[in-house]
């Protein structure tokens, strides 16, 4: 069974997106995704101040198995990236919803979050994969 974070929303490409207290959307990959990828060895993050678009590539994650693109779940400006992944990419495996976060977006609007799955829908989606 895979873990989900109740307060987050999920994309079909296995990113999670959580609205924080500052109105920023924090992004990472799900527990299901990290389990499928295996040990993460390298994360390519977007630049701070970079514009990202919902559904468009915003980075990549390399595991022992393969490279996978990371897609921005919402459109906006990147306001922070998790630089600790440079030296400790294994945080993505160890704590995918916490210390293993990838980047935070100042969203153009929060409407796009409504297009994503909630935790229950995402769990069902993973089981059908």
């Amino acid at each position: 069974m895979t873990d989900t974070l109740d307060e987050a929303k999920y994309a079909e490409t296995h990113e999670w997106a959580r609205l924080d207290d500052n109105g920023h959307v924090v992004v990472g990959i799900s527990d299901y995704a990290q389990e499928q990828l295996g040990d993460v060895v390298y994360v390519e993050l977007p630049d701070v101040d970079q514009q990202v678009d919902a559904g468009a590539e915003a980075g990549a994650v390399e595991s022992v198995k393969a490279a996978s693109d990371i897609y921005a779940p919402v459109s906006g400006i990147v306001v922070a990236v998790n630089t600790s992944l440079d030296d400790t990419p294994e945080l993505v495996n160890q704590d995918p919803y916490g210390d293993g976060w990838f980047f935070a977006i100042e969203p153009d609007s929060t409407d796009e979050l409504a297009d994503l799955m909630d935790a229950a829908e995402y769990s069902e989606f993973c089981e059908s994969e």
């Binding site: 295996g38 390298y42 022992v64 393969a66």
Partner: protein
């Protein structure tokens, strides 16, 4: 992983019970990893790990002209094996010098045993059978035999703990021993595919789950094919189908050392083609690349050198070194700094001579 088209090793249920992530590999359902692939890798480098390699092809060959048969088919000279227990690494070639497979040939009290890859099973069996009728050489494929590789600096000690077979400690590198054990004969070879000390144990299929369990209790960590790939690449060992195949010769695959041109009158398949290539020089070579930028090299990526373009054949993130390494086929004159096209961007790397990780001695 209930795909009925995939073959199962005698350890299939053992792997499932251990929660292994299984995948199809060369037509077999095999464990890719049990937990963290990187932890399994380090366990083998630093302590002891075990791999189910029962999918590999084991063929026993007997008959009055078995040696002549092997001397005709294997580019290395099985005649170097002067007594039972000797082992030899070599390649099977086609007439053009292309590699059909890489094998280990063991001389036994009666006849020889040849171990080859799983992915090439049909091609290799057909190749043997198409040539065996000219010799008195009878082939028996040993599908009743399982194989477990125990690898790592503590492999021998843990194996002896588990089985009491202390004679294994005296076994020389690339030598093998037939030992009566558990009412059967086990063949134990001081060989492997990790760059570490260790053994490969060939035993009756029915005994494999028992041995696996005893080794686990002795502290040997189960490791999957994922760790096997990163370990072999760190050790600079080729993978058939990726680093070499029927379109490449041993001279283009960093395996010139496995070809015995002496004695000059030994007529092995591919000899003429290799001699011509040796005279004219090879166009490409297989060499190591260490990535200096961040990222991970993967199979098929383009390599840009001052001598022309090449291609990554095997690429991984090296758990031991902490950066990406690979084997690439590049123009023979290529040397020094190279570029590798990773996901649309050119990254910096340099040509290095494998192995990437030297064995601790």
């Amino acid at each position: 992983m209930n795909d009925p088209t995939l073959r199962r090793t005698p350890l299939f249920d053992t792997h499932l019970a251990a929660g292994a992530k299984m995948a199809g590999f060369a037509g077999w359902a095999m464990p890719i990893r049990y937990g963290s692939q990187i932890d399994e890798h380090h366990a083998v480098r630093n302590h002891a790990g075990m791999f189910d390699v029962s999918h590999m092809t084991i063929v026993d060959i007997e008959g009055t002209s078995t040696l002549e048969f092997l001397q005709h088919l294997v580019a290395n000279d099985a005649g170097k094996l002067k007594s039972a227990g000797g082992g030899l690494y070599g390649v099977l070639l086609n007439e053009a010098g292309g590699i059909i497979d890489d094998v280990i040939v063991y001389r036994r009290d009666r006849g020889y045993r040849v171990v080859s890859n799983a992915a090439t099973r049909d091609a290799v069996m057909d190749w043997y059978k198409g040539r065996a009728d000219r010799f008195d050489a009878v082939l028996v494929e040993r599908e009743d035999v399982a194989m477990i590789a125990v690898q790592g600096p503590e492999a021998i000690a843990r194996f002896v703990d588990a089985t009491g077979l202390s004679e294994v400690a005296e076994l020389k590198r690339f030598h093998a021993l037939d030992v009566p054990h558990k009412a059967a004969t086990w063949m134990i070879a001081r060989t492997g595919y990790t760059g570490e000390d260790g053994i490969e144990v060939m035993l009756p299929a029915r005994g494999a789950p028992w041995l696996w369990c005893e080794l686990a209790q002795a502290g040997v960590v189960a490791a999957g094919l994922g760790a096997r790939d990163t370990l072999r690449l760190e050790a600079g060992l080729n993978l058939y189908g990726q680093d070499m195949d029927e379109t490449t010769t041993p001279l283009e695959s960093n395996l010139g050392w496995t070809v015995a041109f002496e004695p000059a009158d030994r007529d092995f398949i591919g000899r003429t083609a290799l001699e011509a290539q040796r005279t004219n020089g090879v166009g490409n070579k297989l060499t190591g690349i260490a990535l200096e930028d961040r990222g991970v090299m993967r199979h098929g990526m383009k390599v840009i050198t001052e001598a022309g373009e090449g291609e990554v054949r095997s690429g991984i993130f090296s758990p031991t070194l902490g950066y990406s390494i690979g084997l690439a086929r590049v123009p023979r004159a290529a040397t020094g700094e190279v570029g590798i096209l990773i996901r649309g961007r050119e990254r910096r790397g340099r040509i290095v001579r494998p192995p990437f990780v030297a064995k601790k001695r």
